[in-house]
Amino acid sequence: MFALTPLEIEALHLSLLVSGWAVAGSLPFGIACAWILARCEFYGKTLFDGLIHLPLVLPPVVVGYFLLVLLGRRGPVGAWLYDWFGITLAFTWKGAAIASAVISFPLMVRAIRLSLEGVDRGLEQAARTLGCGPLRTFFTVTLPLVAPGVLTGVILGFARSLSEFGATITFVSNIPGETRTLPIALYALTQVPGGDEAAMRLCAISVVVAFAALLTAEILARRVQARLRS
């Protein structure tokens, strides 16, 4: 009853792989964008902010289609990637990771930005007077202080990636073993007669995975907070 079928294992593995890479790949950019939004004042900042938040308010299908046009084998960026590096993104799990990353990016940036805005700039000044340049100050003082925010951002991004459906199916379609993640497999099962029981099982797996992610986040966040307080 509780043994996973090969199809379920495949979908679960793909989901974790895609979400993991989506978060890992977008984290440095997420931190950079959060820093720019929290610390810099420049002309067009509102536009930049809006651009980052766009995937949050657009229908995921729009994002997926846009990615397909841009990164497809014949798209302006996709063709270049294929010609020079032999990289194909459309209809591969890498493409699914990119779709998830784009969709979850605003959530990640928001969490990190909030945390950055709460950092006492005086501590950074202190680090400067103690011989740390701006970059070292960032890595030794700022980043450890925003660790709880980064963690929240990572978990939010990971959870959003796990549940990603619209952009993924539009950009990389539903290919077993390549792009058929948990939500896509579930959707596919609901489209065939007699797939109800299998669909329920996938639902249960999704709930467990999502819950485990949230719980891990909570425990880690508490630990980090405790470190800063006592």
Partner: protein, 363 residues
């Protein structure tokens, strides 16, 4: 040691400071908003003067004409902030060594052990800043700045955020640290007791400008600067040495140029050099040596100047064998005694009015 000539406009407020500070403790004293913190933050490189020049030892840190602006991390100046600003994610030891680790071994002139011992923070090393008291935090912050082997230590009202008890506890540490490590210190303060205790050189700041600068005793004794040093605080500041203690009567004898002064018992070993403030409002004048009075201190001297001050108060300066004593009397008293320059007079001072907080250990 430190040469400053800086100008900065902050809103409608101008900071215009020319200053040369030597070794020892240079106190930047003035009311809040007089530009003290702006000066120290420009020296540290945390804010930039509009134009001017900053030189520490032989190194130019800022020169608007030569387009030199050394970033704060390369200035090698220790900065102790009003709030300790310890790194909450690091324990005390890691906080202390934070700056030290950025200094090449050959250039480290203080060891962790020495600093920990002088500041008495040995028991705190494994703790986190969040669990420390205000005084402990500030000691760790001082240690952290010292261990970065700075050329000069900048202290921005390090005691202002502490309650009187903590402050009294920390002052001796700062005094001891200044002597032990022979580091030039630029000390910003608006508290006279700190200045009295620590300052070798005193720089009076007023509205963004330097109103006066010089040896602390001289500046604090000058009548023309009372509007800055405080009328209530007016008086003479003299150097004295603890001569003896009389435990039967709870008295300490202090010898100075003008003779021996009796004060309430203080806990300082005989032979110790102290700095003593004699409030002008506590000094009674007599033109003849009084007999049968309770006053224990009768100092013979000569009237040097008689200056009418605000509110029918007359400032009288007395020279007691080379030591200057100030007295504030009413214009009525002056008229009755017919006090004029050159007259012989006696300064009378009750031993109980020489309070403990007016005597600062300077050994």
């Amino acid at each position: 040691m430190l040469e400053l000539s800086i100008h900065r406009r902050q809103g409608c407020f101008n900071v215009d400071v020319d200053l040369a500070a030597g070794g020892g403790v240079t106190a930047l004293y003035g009311p809040s908003g007089s530009g003290k913190t702006s000066v120290i933050s420009m020296v540290a490189g945390l804010s930039r003067p509009d134009f001017g020049r900053i030189k520490v030892e032989d190194r130019v840190l800022f020169d608007s004409e030569a387009k030199i602006d050394v970033p704060p991390e390369k200035r090698r100046l220790g900065y102790v902030f009003q709030e300790a600003r310890l790194f909450p994610h690091l324990d005390v030891r890691a906080n202390l060594t934070f700056g030290m680790n950025r200094v090449p071994h050959a250039e480290r002139h203080l060891s962790l052990g020495d600093v920990v011992e002088v500041l008495g923070i040995g028991g705190l090393l494994a703790r986190r800043p969040a669990g420390l008291s205000g005084g402990e935090k500030q000691r760790v912050a001082i240690g952290r700045a010292l261990l970065a082997s700075p050329r000069i230590l900048l202290m921005d009202e390090p005691l202002a955020a502490l309650d009187p008890g903590r402050k009294a506890e920390l002052l001796p540490f700062i005094a001891r640290m200044a002597q032990r490590f022979a580091l030039p210190i630029l000390y910003v303060s608006h508290a006279m007791d700190e200045v009295l205790r620590l300052a070798d050189t005193l720089v009076l700041m007023d509205n963004g400008h330097v109103a006066a600068a010089g040896p602390a005793e001289e500046i604090l004794s000058r009548a023309d600067l009372r509007h800055l040093t405080g009328h209530g605080e007016a008086g003479a500041v003299i150097q004295a040495r603890v001569a003896y203690h009389d435990d039967n009567h709870g008295i300490t004898g202090l010898s100075f140029a003008g003779g021996t002064l009796l004060a309430g018992r203080i806990d300082v070993a005989p032979g110790t050099l102290v700095r003593l403030r004699i409030h002008a409002r506590d000094v009674v004048l007599a033109t003849e040596a009084p007999t049968h009075v309770s006053v224990r201190n009768v100092l013979a001297g000569r009237v040097v100047s008689v200056t009418p001050g605000p509110g029918h108060i007359v400032d009288v300066m007395l020279d007691c064998n080379g030591a200057v004593i100030w007295s504030q009397i009413t214009s009525l008293a002056q008229a009755h005694l017919r006090l004029t320059e050159g007259m012989r007079a006696f300064a009378l001072l009750k031993a109980v009015t020489v309070a403990r907080e007016d005597i600062a250990d300077r050994s």
